[in-house]
Symmetry: C2
Subunit: 803 residues, 2 copies
């Protein structure tokens, strides 16, 4: 079916396997006499469509994009095993020992996920360091040259051009090769774990683009971090490793074939996401919690242990390799991509007086986070409407790169804050107009990756010596009275807007580090103001307040609590601050939620993804399955004519993925539910021509095995690619062996929360609604549930659209 998809969407341009609400033909009309339904099953006439819809264009092709829509272009994952005869036969053949082998394989895969994720993180880290070092050295030499003889505008030009060049490359590969690699990837992985299939999201190509993209964006000097993308990278690695093959590379290692289904794949992707967090922040427990808080719904102890194992291996691998790279082979001092440095627990404690202050910081974080999200919301809307062509996206990214470099340069240029060179640990000191033996401390901030600036905000002593970052320099300057507080506020503001503008660009980049940086900046400012107001009390350590500010700002933007608390605890190697960090995060979340959703949820909604939240809207008890379900449903019979199956699958008006199988109706009995069969299964059956020919009744051409389905997973060919001759159309197909004979069902009277709970807890894709006699009356899919949402005025219903 022709599909006008916008380029900014995650799904790329070649979506060909859409899923639409089932509305083709009806099997049984509720309340209708029993016999009436069956003729429709045999009729090969045109599909019945909803009365209120144009049969040729069931959905408007181009609609103003807004958040009150659900897109029909996203398929669901199926976390419910199809327990058909083939599957049960296989399971029954496998004995106890063989299951132990499967279990061991799961652990081996998790170890591999951990190792590979750790190695990818190392690769990113080392390449960024090398490239950024090269860039800064070239620019520094140039600035040093031009400072003396004037003409620093050339230096600006050089710096900006270098940045723009990196960003151009990073943006081009994302925009033209794999748009789904844009951004941090966290919303996409959240969706995947929730059960929504974002096309291409776990492909090898995506990984390559993601990794290259994040390196180029960070080196390009954008206000981005390399941490978020690690989560996506870990997930792709997990999805790839667990399948034992690469469809892109056309290599099948013939291992781990048992895991080739959505259920198993999701479990491994959870582990990959956790391994990614673990490598990014050196936070293995935080990684597990991230995976669980943001993704999984069914908590399984064994799965959790495996996830934990993958996380541990990942941070250990990173630590080990980076320790070797840095020359301290045995000391294991680099557990994560970003290391917040040690907070010495002896000197930095908090007292009970400070708790109201922390809560106040949480409020500020919540409000600033909401402002950030609101701005980004409007920006994203603008992008969806007007910047949806790849070239425009690339141009925007280049523009942001140029502006970032220019702003930084102007700030450095107009800064007169000089610091003595000796004893400082600045990587690329710029002298500029400072005296010999001194460097421009403003430049130190912009001449550095954002990670290092965060660390210096946390740790640099409040007194001048050894400053490393602009914020810190300004902050200490403030306490010394040599700087105008207005200037300091201006800086925070500038970075805030830069980060906000940058998030959502068509580059591969994360928002964690910029958020932490903004928060650390105003947090430190807050702490310094506090010690200024209270007469420099000892407890008002600016580093501590920088940490709280960072937590507040990040919490206000992404709205994570438990996992973020643990990530912060692990990244700072400090448990003492657990309670205040948790208070700050909780406050920031509560305050932020009053205004607007979290950044990731917002982006998921802006993409109109049918995302299922944790619970049904509280006021939805008035709805029942009868109102929620899609009806009429296309049903197939146990023994169905091949022609009918092909017609049903090829129907362009709707594009079902699951079909209830009903009794072979003889016209006298009602068509009772017998099972459920998936489009993908039918495709495989058609492909292998598992027909019963009229002349050889009862003789199957070939016995299909589970392997045939697994080999086809996950990229099943479209129906159009399968040729079925006119003769074959007259054959019948016996679905008994392949259908799932025990699909989950609900009665029509079940309330929406009840249906929702079943659907969500079991990760279903199709839920059959039956009447009192077990006849099919409707089908509930993800969209039918996701469209009900709690708005400001109560329950609201989103409309479905083919975006």
């Amino acid at each position: 079916m022709a599909n006008v998809s916008k380029k900014v969407s995650w799904s790329g341009r070649d979506v060909d396997d859409d899923e639409a609400a089932p509305l083709l033909r009806r099997a049984a009309r509720p309340g209708a006499p029993a016999g009436e339904a069956t003729p429709l099953l045999n009729g090969a006439g045109p599909a019945a469509v909803r009365a209120d819809m144009d049969p040729l264009h069931p959905f408007p092709k181009e609609i103003p994009h807004n958040e009150k829509l659900l897109s029909l272009k996203y398929e669901s994952l199926d976390y419910d095993n199809s327990e058909n005869q083939l599957f049960l036969e296989e399971e029954r053949r496998i004995n106890h020992t063989a299951f132990r082998t499967v279990e061991i394989k799961r652990w081996v895969i998790c170890a591999m996920i951990g190792i590979l994720t750790g190695l990818v993180a190392c690769f990113i880290d080392i390449v960024v360091e090398k490239l950024a070092g090269l860039k800064y050295r070239v620019v520094k030499d140039n600035i040093d040259k031009f400072t003396a003889r004037g003409g620093l505008s050339f230096s600006l030009l050089l710096w900006a051009s270098l940045n723009v060049a990196f960003v151009l490359l990073g943006s081009v590969i994302v925009a033209f090769i794999e748009p789904v690699a844009a951004g941090s990837g966290i919303p996409q992985i959240k969706c995947f774990l929730n059960g929504v299939k974002i096309p291409h999201v776990v492909r090898l190509k995506t990984l390559v683009i993601k990794v290259s993209g994040v390196i180029l964006s960070v080196v390009g000097g954008l206000a981005v971090g390399k941490e978020g993308p690690m989560i996506h990278s870990g997930s792709v690695i997990a999805a790839g490793v667990s399948q034992g093959r690469s469809t892109s590379l056309k290599r099948d290692f013939k291992i781990f074939e048992y895991f080739r289904r959505d259920t198993e794949k999701r479990d491994f992707v959870s582990a990959g996401a956790a391994a990614g967090v673990s490598a990014a922040f050196g936070a293995p427990v935080g990684g597990v919690l991230f995976s669980l808080e943001e993704g999984a719904s069914f908590w399984n102890q064994f799965l959790t242990w495996r996830i934990f194992f993958a996380s541990m291996i990942s941070t250990f691998t990173l630590n080990f390799v980076l320790s070797i790279y840095h020359g301290n082979v045995w000391d294991l001092s680099s557990p994560g991509l970003i290391n917040f440095g040690r907070f010495d627990t002896e000197t930095m404690v908090y007292t009970i007086h400070e708790i109201p202050i922390f809560i106040a910081m949480g409020v500020v974080g919540g409000i600033l986070g909401a402002v950030f999200n609101a701005l980004n919301y409007w920006l994203t809307m603008f992008r969806i409407r007007y910047i949806h062509r790849p070239c425009l996206q690339v141009i925007e990214a280049m523009l942001v790169a140029a502006v970032t470099a220019t702003v930084a340069f102007v700030l450095i240029y107009s800064s007169r804050d000089c610091q003595p060179l000796q004893g400082s640990s600045v990587s690329y000191p710029l002298q500029l107009f400072c005296a010999d033996g001194e460097y421009n401390s403003m430049a130190a901030a912009f001449f550095n990756t954002p990670e290092k600036s965060v660390v210096s905000l946390f740790h640099d002593p409040p007194a001048p010596p050894g400053v490393e970052s602009v914020w810190q320099a300004l902050a200490s300057a403030l306490s010394a009275g040599s700087y105008n507080p207005m200037t300091l506020g201006l800086f925070t503001l500038v970075y805030f807007f830069l980060a906000c503008w940058t998030y959502g660009l068509t580059v591969s980049a994360g928002v964690f580090i910029p958020s932490l940086l903004i928060g650390a900046a105003w947090g430190r400012l807050f702490g310094i103001s506090l010690s200024y107001l209270t007469g420099a009390a000892v407890w008002a350590d600016p580093g501590k307040y920088a940490l709280m500010g960072a937590a507040a700002q990040l919490g206000g933007i992404v709205r994570m609590t438990l996992s973020l608390t643990v990530i912060m605890m692990e990244a700072t190697s400090n448990v003492t601050y657990g309670f205040p960090i948790m208070l700050v995060l909780m406050t920031a979340k509560i305050v932020g939620d009053v205004f607007i959703e979290g950044l990731y949820d917002m982006h998921i909604q802006l993409q109109s993804v049918p995302f299922l939240h944790w619970e049904a809207p509280v006021t939805s008890h008035s709805l029942t399955a009868r109102e929620v379900m899609s009806t009429p449903v296309t049903c197939l019979r146990r023994r169905e004519k091949v022609g009918i199956i092909v017609d049903v699958l090829s129907s362009t008006a709707s594009n079902h993925n699951g079909f209830p199988v009903v009794e072979d109706a003889d016209g006298t009995q009602p068509a009772r539910l017998q099972g459920l069969i998936l489009r993908s299964q039918l495709i495989v059956l058609l492909k292998h021509k598992v027909f019963i020919e009229r002349s050889y009744m009862g003789l199957l051409r070939r016995r299909l095995r589970l392997k045939d389905f697994r080999d086809a997973y996950p990229r099943f060919p479209p129906i159009q690619s399968i040729h079925v001759s006119q003769d074959e159309r007259e054959c019948t197909m016996d679905l008994s062996e392949f259908m799932n004979p025990s699909p989950y069902t609900v009665p029509q009277e079940a309330s929406l929360p009840r249906v929702f709970k079943l659907f969500r807890a079991l990760g279903l894709r199709h839920l059959v609604v039956v009447d009192n006699c077990n006849q099919v009356v409707g089908l509930v899919t993800r969209k039918d549930l996701a469209r009900y949402r709690l708005g400001k005025g109560g329950l609201e219903e989103l409309s479905l659209a083919q975006t």
Copy 2:
């Protein structure tokens, strides 16, 4: 029904509300003609029972207790809301704002749970400190007196008598007043969260006995800790607070009535358990993970946040109150009951060489843990068989107390390890035969609560000065060559057996601290041997190895991994050791699992609790719902005669708790499933006489409200207490309004893992099995699923028994 229940079981002596597998009467026989089933529904004849069972004694009354049984005496909790008309009407009345109030109430309750749990922990801590202080001072004075003039056996007698007296009191209240308060309470809470109702487990009386009992056992000098019981205490507090009333005290505060059902109560009990862990170890994140790892199956983000909140409040309350008590009002230095002390991250790092050593320690911990569990298994079997009368239990507890005191005394007496008094922090130094200005370091260990010994094992420097504990003294002595390693081994062994003997006594006490102590002891020994072997290498810090040993031993006994890692990290305020601790715990678990289950699981199994594990046995795909379900099922009709209902409820041969409701059969149609009604609902209906009298057809006596059901929750009266006159027996009752009209169902073909998944994920109590025409053919309850287990030789089926 008469019930011979053994006294050692958790359930106490007055179990009167048993739940048995439904086997009374059949509604519809699979495959039988449609009309045949209905007459049975009307028949008031004697109950049909299984053919292979004596109808008068369906279960053997007294059976040799073993782990291959499932007891029928445990009821299930019902985590599935009965969404009947009353409930839906109420939910539909409540608007959006009212739901927000409900949500706020949940947070308020969690805060209250946290505060109360924290206060209870403070109370225990302070009372133990006071009482133990008093005891030690009295004994010390006595010893000091008799050391000089001989006759130390009087001192032994005094010490032993004091201990025995405390333990006697502690044991009497547990054995005679509330047997369910025995032990740590963790297995009971695990069962509760799993969905098994252990009678009395969350009652106020249990809390009082638990708290008094744990104080008396710790003061009585047993090898026990006060941490485990905190988890139980927190759970009781949560169950009480969330209901807004105390049934025991007959006080109803008329608040939180919305939460009076199993679903809501379980959520709060999770929070209470987490708050308990949090208060015990100062580990709020560990508490959340404990609650999730050991309890919940459905992970809900909002619930997790509330649990986290309760945990945080709990540790904060404890910290605040204890800080005030200790006179350092503002410094918040006591986050938990046990504080492992700070591990200084700067000096104590680990290198990659040590990882194999840690793994080896994990192996040792796993093996020692398995030995511990195996010994305790045999001991528990012995206790179940022979020590099941309260007086015997009390005598055993006194014996253990006397032996513990005697062994300690003998060890002190035979020790000649003297340490200088100045500079040491020993609370109650005993001089004994040491020179003036010195104290007996062996006595320091036994003259102290186990918590303090653990801390000194972790932290005391390897060199002699400042020793505080026996193990450490011995250890440092070993490195100095003045002690025989055999002596040291003997000590570890003695404590090991003491702790093993103590766990399972009829006293309220935990196993965490003794396990940590044993592990810290051999861990430190291990570390010292290592530095001895390697020529006193700097990295072989005994404290570090003591920590790893403690983790290994505890992990080997209880087999927790993720939550225990976090608890250890939080209790030591150290994140750096996260990876080695995790490695050690994982190894200990894997090694231990080869031999025997974890201690808690073992005790759950020994009590024959129908505990549902995370997944169905892997090889159970060959079983289907048809084989698993209980059949025939007692069904009721929508409009049923009161007499029949009363008869069904009073039937002593079986004791059902859920009844499928079928169509009003007119003899021509099959009886199709219409809903499900619970015994408790029927009881309330009968109590309020919601009948339609023959003379006033269609007129209800009174309109029942949901409040009537909530008021009766959770202690519904037995059917015997409700008088139904002969006239009333002829009335009919319309169940339509009260039954759950959309019970979850499965077809007969569904495999056991599929049924299991549905049952476990949704926390069901009854799952109706229907045939192709939606007729009831069977009912799956918890026991039907819990009885299948993976044994050594493959799938095995436990037998059901009325223990």
